[in-house]
Symmetry: C2
């Protein structure tokens, strides 16, 4: 079998991280990299800031130059968070008969918020004989797949809590701005009202994924976003919050069944949580038979986790039956230490 | 769609637990129950010690009476731990064109120790258009699937530790005897030498499953079993260990790659661990990028966990492409709170 061929669309922190990860792996080649603006035309090793001897130093190109019929086995699209924004890119790839994995959070379960676009993508994928998966660390693993895997040991469930307490300190300037680090409470409320502060994207997707797998129809999904106001000065490498300003965002959500909360999501994210005695971690607490009381501490860092999930799900996505799929349709995620080709079904290989 | 039809083969603690769990669920019926000896002919509610109003009070029967062509969608076989012992039963079911889930530990990944029998079962399943899965709490979830799911967030891995520290106190007389609770160290050594003390069955299966998913070829799998000798008197409901006698079994195993340990398994199981300050739990510790440091404490109790895993994997097994499958081939495990029929693909339904 020829090496698995991968194109990366979006050479920001996520796409670049996936390129680096893939270049250290066996049986897989990065055959195309897409971006816009000043990166176009640059050798990929320049953009990655590192050389990878056994890999070709391809040039960053435009989508028009790279996305040709069956130009690769899969394209990793890391450009957007929202289904509506990622739609045209996914469509272009699928119409060129190439599988897609995207880190767009809403694409982890697009029928939660965009059922019509999800339906269109499913049809397009089937028509073209390829698969589309949205994944990442969250949604994609911590607040949905990990929860569901633990419910596998349960006879019955009364209530589920998924809690992800994470530090924003490892992230760069873009995340600091997106999450409102250092702004005043008034600015935060303004940003929340006008939609410029998104906070975590993914609760409706994670909750809907859990509900669908469990086989329950929820009455409602409620979501809230509040400022985490610090009472001490906090300083991270790329962001700073003076006492009285915003050091992070507390996101909560509920999945309601028969008027009662069945699924609780709690996701406070802030810079320098340790400074105020907050211990970071990923928690799954299930009130059921049996009880589940799981913690992974410290939390899996979002950046590396999303990079790894998108790369590690390549075989499952290539092997999947054509269509729009989600993490609950595919075999369990896992790392790949060996040859990527060993994980691909012969009949599913495109090029 | 008609209700999912299930036959249970083996009405011991596991099979009875599965029957009870299924009788509380929607869209699924227990249409047959098989045992030998004195239970044959008894109404199932008598054997379960409980009535389940919306279920038929079927009689426990022999395999010959119950296993007929397409008599059910799936048979849950809970009679054995070893592939060689379960083989004829699985064969009989498969030749009657019915899917199989078995709690036999070695069947979680039978090619680890019985590659020829695994090959035969795979062929039989394909010839008859059905699937065979071995699962349970361990192997099946805690020391393999949960480990693999967490590796999904990893770019690279240097070493994996899976640790399950559990209490044997909830188990009955049979387990107390199997694990040598209360015997002398000399008796333990004797039982270990003559093979009458098995300890935990499943390390080669869990380690092989992890290695196969990661795509690595191991040089060797090593395994050890030692007595946990208590220095205080311990007393559980069905077993007792005086100071100086055996209160449990310490099982360890290693998966070796290029002369170095890649996968470590550590599974001490004993009665009344709390009495000597041992905290029970399920641990996944991955030295990689990123690090994983997960604990579920207390551990998922083995009985209810195995019952739930076997029942919850029914849809994935019925829906699977024909053949011998394992937990790494199928969609992620999860609980089922809704109608079982909603989880079954139309074309996969047998009766």
């Amino acid at each position: 079998m020829k090496n698995v061929k991968v194109i990366i669309w979006g050479m920001g922190a996520m796409g670049s991280g996936m390129a680096k990860m893939l270049m250290k792996k066996t049986g897989v080649d990065v055959v195309g990299a897409i971006d816009i603006g000043q990166k176009v035309g640059k050798p990929i090793f320049d953009v990655l800031g590192e050389e990878f001897p056994n890999n070709e130093n391809i040039k960053i190109s435009t989508a028009e130059e790279v996305i040709k019929e069956k130009a690769a086995d899969i394209v990793l699209i890391c450009t957007d968070s929202f289904t509506a924004k990622a739609f045209d890119k996914i469509k272009k790839v699928v119409e060129n008969k190439i599988n897609v994995i995207t880190s767009a959070e809403e694409m982890a379960f697009p029928k939660a918020q965009n059922p019509e676009l999800a339906e269109k993508l499913d049809q397009l994928a089937k028509e073209n004989g390829v698969s589309i998966l949205g994944t990442g660390i969250n949604p994609g693993l911590i607040m949905d797949v990990l929860v569901l895997v633990m419910t596998g040991a349960c006879e019955d469930i009364h209530h589920i809590t998924s809690r992800r307490v994470n530090s924003l300190s490892p992230f760069g300037k873009a995340v600091m701005e997106e999450q409102g680090i250092g702004i005043s409470v008034a600015e935060f409320e303004q940003g929340k009202a006008d939609g410029s502060l998104a906070g975590h994207v993914g609760f409706p997707e994670s909750i809907s994924m859990i509900a669908e797998a469990l086989g329950v129809k929820l009455d409602a999904i409620n979501q809230s976003m509040d400022a985490i106001v610090t009472d001490v000065d906090r300083k991270a490498p790329y962001g700073e919050a003076k006492a009285g300003s915003v050091a992070g965002v507390s996101m909560k959500a509920s999945g309601i069944k028969d008027g009662k909360e069945l699924i609780e999501m709690d996701h406070p994210q802030q810079i320098e949580p340790e400074q105020v005695g907050v211990k970071t971690g990923d928690y799954v607490i299930i009130d059921g038979n049996p009880q589940v009381n799981l913690v992974n501490s410290p939390e899996i860092e979002g950046g590396v986790g999303t990079i790894a999930m998108c790369v590690n799900m390549i075989p499952q996505t290539i092997n999947a039956r054509p269509g729009l799929v989600s993490m609950i349709d595919l075999p369990i995620p896992h790392a790949i230490l060996g040859d990527f080709r060993d994980q691909i079904h012969e009949e599913a290989k495109i090029v």
